[in-house]
């Protein structure tokens, strides 16, 4: 394989793809969905979450805490007693105007680095913050501590809770669900882009021209995959920015997105090799869409409402379910690593199988490509 040849194919397709109206609509769909779902989420999400923070040392932990909420409204307290008064000593009050209170020591980071066990005081109003958000917050604070002092920060978090914690509501988890759903739809794009790019070369007979040039068949395929991955990365970034989805465990999230990209590109490659007409691949692609949108629907808050176990067993037989579940769990940081690894293993196994099938198909295609 030659990098120059691969880049030549990729450059041509990057330009050609935006001039193809059908592909362009497909590319813009996730962005449209991101805008739409952000709007819906702002309606469902309701009023802003009020946070009362005492942070005399301007610690960046304030941003970490506020990032855990979709619409935070921060009030800065003049003294620690202001926070304690709002929630009552040790969270004694039953009512508070605030969802969360936080007291950060003035020299928090330097104390942490010196191993002096600085104490963060956290006040949580169970009426406004559910179990998921609480878990997210705890994870975010620990992660921040690890950023300052690796690997085990001498951090003490004292949490006081007023009112019993509420079970998770759809509104609370809606943002993570919507972000996950749009991310899955964005990754799915490759199942249309890759076969479209490969089949069009066959259908328009330009593949013969390419094979008569110094380029090889594997260069052509690599160029197409590079284009698909580039658009996926750009779209994912846009979706993140629009939906402000940089929450949860980013490492797991990136890992799942990468595996999802591999999975969808493998599917696209297989379709591109098996079919010789856009109409045939379009029909298959149309069916395939259901295998993405349906399993992703039943991950997270909607899945909790489904009582029919047989139905969920069928849904869980579709590997995309594990991709959606992995992304959702990474966004909410609420699942143990073992579950995440299981999800990842299912996607990796499926991807490997599809790549083996695609490679077998590619070998056949390479042999007959010049006769197309």
């Amino acid at each position: 394989m030659h990098l120059r040849s691969i880049l030549a194919i990729a450059r041509k397709d990057l330009i050609d793809i935006v001039q193809n109206k059908a592909t362009l609509v497909g590319l813009l769909l996730p962005i449209f969905m991101a805008v739409l779902f952000s709007f819906i989420n702002s309606i469902i999400g309701g009023s802003p979450t009020r946070l009362l923070i005492y942070n005399p040392g301007q610690s960046p932990i304030e941003q970490v805490v506020s990032a855990a909420f979709s619409t935070p409204a921060i009030t800065h307290a003049a003294s620690p007693s202001d926070v304690e008064t709002a929630f009552g000593p040790d969270g004694a009050h039953k009512q508070s105007d605030y969802a969360l209170g936080l007291i950060v020591p003035p020299t928090f980071e330097s104390d942490l680095r010196a191993g002096r066990h600085p104490q963060l005081q956290l006040f949580i109003n169970g009426d406004s913050i559910g179990t998921t958000q609480r878990a997210l917050l705890a994870q975010a604070l620990t992660d921040y501590g690890r950023q300052v002092v690796n690997p085990e920060p001498p951090l003490a978090i004292v949490t006081s809770t007023i009112n019993p914690p509420q079970p998770n509501t759809f509104a609370e988890n809606s943002k993570a669900f919507f972000v996950m759903y749009v991310l899955v739809m964005t990754i799915m794009n490759a199942t249309g882009i890759v076969p479209g790019l490969i089949i069009e070369e066959k259908e328009k007979k330009t593949l013969r021209m390419l094979l008569a040039s110094p380029i090889s068949f594997s260069d052509i395929i690599a160029g197409k995959l590079l284009v698909s991955l580039t658009y996926q990365a750009l779209l994912l970034l846009l979706v993140f920015l629009i939906m402000q989805g940089f929450t949860g465990n980013l490492l797991w999230l990136l890992l799942f997105l990468l595996m999802g990209a591999c999975l969808t590109n493998a599917i696209g490659l297989l379709i591109g090799c098996l079919f010789n007409t856009i109409s045939a691949s379009g029909a298959v692609g149309g069916i395939l869409v259901f295998f993405f949108i349906v399993p992703a629907l039943f991950v997270g808050p909607l899945g909790q409402f489904i009582q029919n176990q047989s139905f969920m067993t069928i849904i869980k037989a579709i590997p995309v379910y594990y991709l959606a579940e992995g992304i959702y769990n990474a966004l909410t940081s609420q699942t143990p690593a073992a579950t995440m690894l299981t999800d990842l293993a299912v996607i990796a196994g499926t991807t490997l199988l599809l790549f083996v099938l695609a490679a077998w198909s590619l070998r056949h295609q390479a042999a007959v490509a010049s006769s197309i």
Binding site: A8, I15, D16, K204, T206, R208, A212, S213
Partner: protein, 295 residues
């Protein structure tokens, strides 16, 4: 001298054979083409013309036999060969959403060429003023010119043209022939396939007839016509009829002694108005040699 003569051959094929399943597409095909020559491969659809081009351009490997094109073994030196040949396919395989210039730019990337070459080839095929238009809006003739421009970008020593005038109007076909002629004069060796005998007659210094994958004749069009023509003479004779003059066409056989005497007499009497040799057309020669019509 022998070595010099060998180096003049830009295409050499010896006993090429290629089968697809049970069907023998090319059988024991041997030919040679000199530098700067326009060589025509003529035959009906399915005769093996395109397969021959694909063999000679390294797109497929022969089952047996060998071929060298522009000094490269077509089976063993395919990468080097691709740099030295240009191919204009039968299909107008262009990226229709891209402009003419963008199509050529892409080929520049493939061959690692400087983009200034684009203007040179666009000028060569007279397409500079249409360079920014999407190819999808081009007529068949314009597309064909662009295909030739694309094939010439990397200055190939040998150019393969598969049915270059198929589907073109007479003016576009004439333009393409002029371009081909100019390329040949500039030293490019050209192998073209066609089923248009008139085109082959006008363009090619030599032609080969191919039927069922086999070459059945290979020579200059004029020599083929002389060799396989009927040697007839069309005479327009002046005649005196009832105090008025009339004209009569008579066909004479050049090999017939009586006809030779009659012609000599008419010439001496001053009665011959015009003389035309009745040369066979290339199409008739094809039928005579191959035993099947061209189309």
């Amino acid at each position: 001298m022998e070595h010099q003569s060998e180096s003049e051959l830009m295409i050499e094929a010896h006993q090429l054979r290629r089968t697809f399943g049970q069907r023998q597409a090319v059988a024991d095909l041997s030919l040679s083409v000199r530098r700067g020559e326009i060589f025509g491969l003529l035959g009906p659809n399915g005769a093996g013309k395109t397969t021959t081009i694909r063999l000679l351009t390294g797109q497929i490997i022969p089952d047996s036999g060998w071929a060298r094109v522009a000094g490269c073994d077509v089976a063993r030196e395919r990468q080097r060969l691709k740099q030295r040949i240009g191919v204009v396919f039968e299909e107008q395989n262009l990226y229709e959403r891209l402009s003419a210039r963008a199509n050529l730019r892409f080929s520049c990337w493939l061959y690692n060429l400087p983009e200034k070459r684009i203007d040179e080839v666009l000028t060569l095929v007279d397409l500079r003023d249409r360079a920014r238009e999407p190819v999808g809006k081009f007529s068949q003739g314009l597309k064909q010119r662009l295909l030739i421009a694309r094939a010439l970008l990397h200055r190939p020593a040998v150019l393969f043209l598969d049915e270059p005038s198929r589907g073109l109007d007479p003016i576009s076909a004439h333009t393409i022939r002029q371009i081909v002629q100019r390329l040949s004069e500039a030293g490019t060796t050209i192998l073209l396939t066609t089923h248009l005998m008139e085109e082959a007659d006008q363009l090619c210094q030599r032609v080969a007839f191919i039927v069922n994958g086999r070459l059945v004749a290979n020579d200059a069009p004029r020599l083929l016509k002389l060799q396989h023509g009927k040697r007839l003479l069309q005479v327009t004779l002046e005649e005196q009829q009832d105090h008025s003059q009339g004209l009569r066409d008579i066909t004479l056989k050049l090999d017939d002694a009586d006809d030779q005497q009659r012609l000599t007499r008419w010439l001496s009497e001053g009665r011959v108005r015009s003389l035309h040799t009745q040369e066979a057309s290339l199409e008739e020669v094809f039928f005579h040699v191959a035993g099947v019509p061209l189309s």
